[in-house]
Symmetry: C2
Subunit: 392 residues, 2 copies
């Protein structure tokens, strides 16, 4: 276990009708002039946006609105949000939606207080200042409601990149599992996959002696394996949705990832897929993870055998640990398939002819990258091409 | 899973030499005139106090000192600390020590900003205002470094009571596992027991469908069962101490206890033992827990069978689940014995003749109590007497 710092000062209000606390919480955390940021029609149709607005009005908080966030949120809308913040003197950003909306809100929050181009943060600059952010979460998936992270796609070149910093942790997040009941099963399953990916990426470490975080990650994965299928079978299962929602936050606030190196190869390799084909990030991960794990398994067979036994209830083959390791990866693939996720390149609409370009961008970005994806292993462009081919 | 709020805004600096960040962190969280609070000679002898002072001085932070905190910290020193804060204009309290020192620091922090008697908070008044607190932790045990709780013993009548409130969460906590290496094995083991008790008290719930928190609690218990014996065998095992230290914080910051009823009967019943016999709280819990669990087991046999199977690797006896439940309790007792904890009344120095009085105080306090300990079950004075007798 390595040294670390951990700071997660987000206030969580969890449970039914908690969206009605939005006004009270914005006030508590110093907001008086709010930008409400959201996506498409669902938050309008469901009446959620109206309830949130009513809650703000009740506390005499004024607000502007900016809708239109798309999955894999784009830089164009971020610039628009930054302009509104400056013109209207916004002092708090309230994201009503899923990870895309929250990530877009974070980018606006940082950009509004920064003289340069907000994209600098997505090319490595640390986010140390941002307008305060609150969230009303509508899908358990990205964990952005409790994380210091944000991922944005730059339209020019369709570059999908992440930024991080303490200032990106929301001041508060409202988690009402009921709000996730109306999600289509495909989106619910993509969210489940994303949560599981956050856990796997942390599990694949080169740090020794990390029993406490290993066990916590396993606990959250086991929860997803139990609760995931229940919510796919019955979208109205409040309890299953509640368990998934808290697991999704815990999976990514990093309390189970401290003191250990992490991987994030699957995310990097997937980002090209969702940038190029605009697929759901979770669906892309369902295709990517088994391929990455199969390709990198031999780097530490016992780590994969451990997760196979502890999480997937495989029996350890002590003569052939690699068989156990592979069985665990197969269990993951079958599970993802069972909840309705794609598991091949084709199902995703991806094409062989794009592999070389995607592998290049994954390793080199727009030309300035190191040429490697470094995490659990060190992958170069050829490795990444091989991994994409494994998905076919 | 029930609705809840969760807010844990403590900054953690974890790892070797992190005590040297004390000054920087006090400054970050607004302190300029500090009261350093500590216990006995060990923090002086080890040089820790000097290193912390040097770190404050480096940041031009002035400080006063108040040592002398004893295990099961007393109200007398709290009053003294409150006086110092008022006289010297203290604006930040830095606890250097274990749970007792941190709990005492919390009481001083609340009392300094309160016109009435600080003991009001320990009779049920919510702590909504306190001076900011920082900690440099020297034993993994109480979890006070990340919790909103404090327990103090009132010398008049030797009443041991807890208080809680958001203002009691430390602004920062410094967790250096190396600082715990010099602890005597008995204290290390008492700390391990306390951590396990925090997990059991949360596990014993009457709330259905709490898979995510069940699994997290189990994960932390399994960690303690693996790492506990390693650190008893080799006190210098940094990695085992590091895993225990993070598990101890996670066990009590309540991220694994949200959305479910909790028990706390073992703590209430133990508090009488450590108040009357001045034993280590953890040692008292080692004697108390198996007795409480044996007495209350039939309230929900499956819950005890579940923890027996998942945490202690017992095999489920589907014909006789109560046998599995009992086996799990026996595993706990044997584990505590194996790390050097007492498991009987006698080993603790406790006496049968005190049972009636202790049971009365546990249920009625100084006369104003409800007559019951309510948690997993509802226990009256006769029940508590029976439980104490089970320890003999």
């Amino acid at each position: 276990m390595e040294g670390f710092t951990f700071y997660a000062p987000t206030y969580f209000a969890f449970g039914k009708e908690t969206e009605n606390k939005a006004g009270e919480l914005v006030k508590r955390f110093g907001g008086s002039k709010v930008l409400i940021h959201y996506g498409g029609g669902s938050v309008i149709k469901s009446g959620l946006l109206d309830r949130v607005k009513a809650s703000l009005t009740k506390e005499n908080i004024s607000f502007e609105e900016l809708g239109g966030v798309m999955p894999n949120p784009r830089s164009g809308l971020v610039y628009k949000g930054i302009d509104i913040c400056r013109e209207k003197g916004i002092d708090f950003i309230l994201a009503v939606g899923g990870g895309s909306t929250i990530d877009s809100a974070k980018a606006i929050a940082a950009g509004a207080l920064y003289d340069g181009d907000f994209w600098d943060f997505y090319e490595g600059k640390t986010v140390d200042k941002a307008l305060p952010i609150g969230t009303v979460l509508t899908i358990a998936a990205a964990g952005s409601e409790g994380s210091p992270d944000s991922v944005i796609t730059k339209e020019e070149g369709m570059l999908k990149r992440g930024a991080s910093g303490e200032a990106y942790r929301p001041k508060f997040s409202i988690l009402n599992p009921e709000l996730t009941k109306t999600l289509p099963p495909y989106q619910t399953a993509a969210g489940i996959t994303d949560i599981m990916a956050h856990l796997y990426e942390r599990y694949l470490t080169n740090t020794d002696e990390v029993e406490v975080t290993d066990r916590m990650i396993e606990a959250l994965l086991i929860t997803m394996i139990k609760e995931g299928p229940r919510v796919i079978e019955d979208p109205n299962n409040y309890q299953a949705r509640a368990n998934i929602m808290w697991a999704g936050m815990m999976a990514h606030n990093n309390s189970c990832g401290v003191g250990r190196t992490q991987d994030w190869s699957s995310h990097t390799i997937e980002h090209e897929l969702s940038a190029v084909y605009d697929c759901a990030h979770g669906a892309g991960l369902a295709v990517t993870m088994p391929a990455v794990f199969t390709y990198t398994m031999n780097h530490d067979v016992n780590r994969f055998a451990q997760i196979a036994c502890r999480v997937w209830d495989c029996k350890m083959d002590f003569y052939h640990p690699e068989k156990t390791a592979k069985e665990g990866i197969e269990c993951l693939r079958n599970f993802l398939k069972s909840i309705g996720m794609p598991v091949t390149f084709e199902e995703l609409g991806a094409k062989e002819e794009d592999i070389e370009k995607m592998a290049y961008t994954a390793c080199y970005g727009d030309g300035n990258g190191s040429g490697y994806i470094k995490g659990f292993t060190k992958l170069d462009q050829k490795d990444v091409e091989n991994i994409y081919r494994l998905m076919m």
